[in-house]
Amino acid sequence: MPSPRYWREVPSRFRLEAVRCRRCGKPSFPARTICPACRGTEFEQIGLTREGTVITSTVLHVAPDEFAMETPYAVAIVETPEGARLMAQLVDCEPSEVKPGLPVALEFRLIRQEGHGGILCYGHKAVPAGA
């Protein structure tokens, strides 16, 4: 990922910045220009709460090269209290224990290292709530 692209995504990756449609109330994460639910274009800025619930998940045993050292690792779709859904790795637990409905906290973590440039790319990972 070239660095301008990584830099551009910082608001959503670092601060979980999202928007809520003023017309229909649907949250969009990351922010969008047009609401996917009602095509509204007026939004309120919101920040996602750093907690949520697992909707579905998997445990990866075969991974892309840059994540190969981390297998097996769990990845889940998490829904926040605002109703926004996002994908995140689920860490600090046995991957096999991740089940739908599991309450999680979203924590700021290192996600990956960018190719040969070596830029460290951060974002959020989920951990079981209270862990």
Partner: protein, 382 residues
């Protein structure tokens, strides 16, 4: 719109074809299609290809491939919709002929996947790079999430998934073009190595090289090329959310539902009118979700269709008689065209040991990404 028929077909064997380049794969399939229709000219070629730019560092496939076909000058271009690129090429060619723009058009698909080591990463570019691939998810991982959602909602089991692979390998064993023309046992599937829980290696389609091509012309000109044209009754194309997280119900492939509804409406037919279907079983769970979304089985009953034999050869609605992506192979851009070829052979009564008796009408469904794009075509024999 004019009625459109397929009048010629050609495809390579699917597999790890180390000795054959992308351009030679295409030339082999395209030449066979031309010969089968005794055609010596083309007005246009649409090439379905997901990612030659990443797999072999080659873009601009239109001129390259018609050049190697010895047809410099012919209108040509590449169309892309990830693993549904072949289906999209067929639809593009269909529209070109139906509209009256051209009279003899080739829809082809080609993918050369074994020239690169980074296949998983290349395929992952069909997911949302910013929201999904960034976090280390893979395509088996996305479909594994769909599988777990389906298990949660419908009680689908790992054994249900495994029966899909057993059935498709049983079909593929009868297909000389298949990458794996061999049966597998239920035990072998359930013991194979875990890729993305609950999906094991034998629930996943393989990495493949291959090409396929079909020739289209107006139905009223078809007799110039063949005694047995197969009419394309309908084409339905639809999209769904790119990110899996944004689906209303992760266990439902809604783009597949929409593409099917459009195709059935255009044809004036229903799922019950189908005698067979080729569906996009990139992973075992995909076939289960697709037969439900297409309406070939009742919602929630897709899980048992392979085990009971409902979707097996000899069953009520045979699905993936070619062996499907699982056993036949999945050179991603070629898959949608290869599905159409299986339908043509079946509806002409030329499918040999795989023949569905009395087959006259069938559909092919080709899907991109985690189900964000889907193309359905309905075919009718003459």
């Amino acid at each position: 719109m004019r009625d459109v028929a397929i009048v010629g077909v050609g495809m390579t064997r699917f597999g790890e074809l180390w000795e054959t380049s992308l351009r030679d794969l295409f030339v082999q399939a395209a030449s066979d299609a031309l010969h089968s229709a005794r055609a010596d000219h083309l007005e246009a070629v649409f090439i379905g290809n997901m990612s030659a730019g990443q797999f072999v560092g080659q873009e601009h496939l239109g001129p390259l491939l018609v050049d190697h076909l010895g047809m410099v000058g012919v209108a040509a271009g590449r169309v892309e919709s990830a693993c549904a690129s072949g289906g999209l090429a067929l639809r593009t060619a269909f529209v070109e002929v139906a509209s009256g723009m051209s009279d003899l058009v080739m829809a082809a698909g080609v993918e050369k996947m074994t020239d690169t080591a980074d296949v998983t990463e290349v395929l992952a570019t069909a997911s949302d790079q910013e929201l999904e691939a960034y976090h280390g998810i893979t395509f088996p991982g996305l479909y594994a999430m769909i599988a777990r959602a389906h298990m949660e909602k419908h009680g689908t089991t790992e054994e249900d998934l495994s029966w899909v692979s057993v059935k498709n390998h049983r079909h593929g064993a009868l297909n000389p073009k298949a990458q794996f023309p061999a049966e597998v046992t239920l035990e072998a599937v359930m013991r194979s190595s875990m890729v993305a829980d609950p999906l094991r290696l034998l629930h996943c389609s393989p990495v493949s090289d291959g090409a396929a091509a079909v020739l289209l012309c107006p139905l009223d000109q078809a007799k110039q090329y063949t005694d047995r044209p197969v009419r394309i009754r309908a084409s339905g194309l639809a999209t769904g959310t790119m990110a899996l997280a944004d689906r209303k119900d992760i266990a439902v492939l809604d783009a597949v539902q929409r593409s099917a509804q459009r195709a059935f409406t255009m044809a004036g037919l229903t799922p019950a009118d189908m005698h067979l279907a080729e569906v996009h079983d990139c992973f075992a769970i995909a076939e289960i979700c697709c037969v439900e979304a297409l309406g070939l089985v009742a919602p929630g009953t897709g899980k048992s269709a392979a085990r009971t034999g409902e979707t097996a050869l000899g069953g009520r609605i045979p699905v993936n008689t070619s062996g499907g992506l699982k056993a036949k192979g999945h050179p991603v851009g070629a898959t949608g065209i290869a599905q159409a070829i299986e339908l043509v052979e079946q509806l002409r009564g030329e499918a040999g040991a795989r023949q569905v008796r009395g087959a006259r009408i069938g559909l092919a469904q080709n899907m991109g990404g985690s189900g964000a794009s889907s193309v359905v075509h309905i075919f009718e024999g003459s």
